[in-house]
Amino acid sequence: MRGLKFGVCLASWNEASAFYAGLDYNLIKPYAMLCEELGYDTLWAPDHFILGDAMYECWTLLAAIAAVTQKIRIGPLLLCYSHRNPSLVAKMAATLDVISGGRVNFGFGAGWHKDEHLAYGLGWSDEPAKRIHGMIEAIEIVKALWTQEHVTYQGTSFSTNAAVCNPKPVQKPHPPIWIGGGGEKLLLRAVANYADGWNVPALPADEYARKLRVLKEHCERNGRQFEKIEKSMETRIMVTNDEWETEKIKKWLISFSSYNIHAPPPTDILDKYIIGNSEVCCRRIEEYQKAGVQHFTLYPLDFPSTRTVKILSQNIIPSFR
């Protein structure tokens, strides 16, 4: 099996790395440029305002990184539908696609960070069904604005009235839409209906395979070709032989698993991610590939060190290409 793709998530907040608690664009920028040079496929940044003690706004950072790179693809992981008006988002993404020469992966999601919404005065619903419905309306608007000349849309959450979004994105028919999340009833159905790519936070390989079976069923029920959807998984990674480093990572992961909804329980925490020497990392990647993962969105745990991204690209990735 070949053709696996690898993306790197930028350390856009001060708790992305186990070994660095700062936040500095002057470290992120050269790191992003190095990832491009090393041949990574994609770069990502999460769309939140309050993670850790300091965080960069997603779109501002991505637009800057797009302007200093040439070929690597760029996307939010994921843009939360309730942070901005969706027609404005369509315009922002079309502009980024123009500026980047057609390199946008449009990651979009239904949101989970309630406190952040309340803090920033943004509308929030406790019902996932309502949020997913809002996300779907937003995607319909964005897609229409990217591909049609005048768009009039009347939804329950959002509307437009003869809206025009010019210039259009460079990518035709439009930038790939990635939807993220693991909810099996509603979210995966939305993926089947609307997404060109699907991403989910770290799962054990057998669990990932099971989600894919659910997605496939949704595809079959809704007349969508399952193969047309790029399957991705977001996880943390570190290539290391060192016991001290491994212990440090373990403690660090446990320390914030109490408030991070994406973090697994403390038992066997290292096994949930891709952590270990080259052989271990290779084996883990292979497990996921067998489970159906086609693309990894990776948080290197040792940022700003470049060791993991270098070893991965030089010693491990070539055998999966």
């Binding site: 779109w59 990184i65 315009k91 005065g121």
Partner: protein, 342 residues
Amino acid sequence: MTPNKVEFGFALPIFPGAGDSHSRTPLLREIDWSLLRKSISASEKLGFGSVWVADHLMLGLNESILECWTTLSAVAAISSRLRIGTIHLYNLFRSPSLVAKMASTLDNISSGRLDFFVDPGHAGLKEECTAYGFPWIERDEERIERFDEALQIIKRMWTEETVSFEGRYYTLKNATCNPKPVQKPFPPIWIGTMGGEGWSDGFGTEKIFRLIAKYADVWNNTPASVKWCTGKLQRLRDECLSAGRDYGKIVKSLETMIIIAKNHAGLDRLMKQIRSHNPKATFYRGETQLRETYLYGTPDECIERINQYVKLGMTRFILWFVDFPSDEGMKLFADHVLPKFR
């Protein structure tokens, strides 16, 4: 900020205005990012102080315009000395808490180069607002009230650790915004007035002067004659008096068009070109109008015109070079006009 130093900014032509669709970019027919990128680098190299990006959703020929913030962030990334600014960021399009976060991020990414130019929105935005599904706010007073709340929120988020706010329009609960902006206490706040070209005279409201006196580090007007600016400055002086604000501490700026050529034959050629791309002459009429409202002339004539504004106390100029996509105007300006104001 050095108020008395005269500085010139380059307004980035992010929307085409040919076909009588907009006055700012009469020769531009389509957006070409590589060309814009070149003009950003040229601005930095030629000695302009800043680059400015407009905030509209539908504007100019085919309603074609790049999104403001995405573009501005790219400008920050590919420049190192230029200040970067919005003209103007409309309070109608984004929630103020998000704007505070975006602006502090951009101030960090640019190492403290952001000029934060904001606006409550005006009657001229009704079409794009309703098209994009933003609730349209008809009354000037309400737009101003919202803007006042937004500015309170943004300033507090830039300077305080945790912000809760119960306003009439906005509610925040324990909002944090870290990292803080690099510039202290925060990036300069620009607030402007509109009108002076005829078509834009009815946009905006005089009520904005209250907020300029209250919040602004810089006041700006859209393209306007010396006479128009004199009137606005008098109004600003009055407002400062009643608000107890030091008028001298507010920097005065003019956003305007520049029609510049080596000699009169060159100017005639440029005007002929503009007329052929804009056959209805909606914006560009007689030479008298051009000479009064914009910067029109040879380099020496432009220097003389700029000095008329400088005499009023205006020291910042945001320039739309109407000959864009040509770079002759900006080069001519850099060679012959910029040195006179160093």
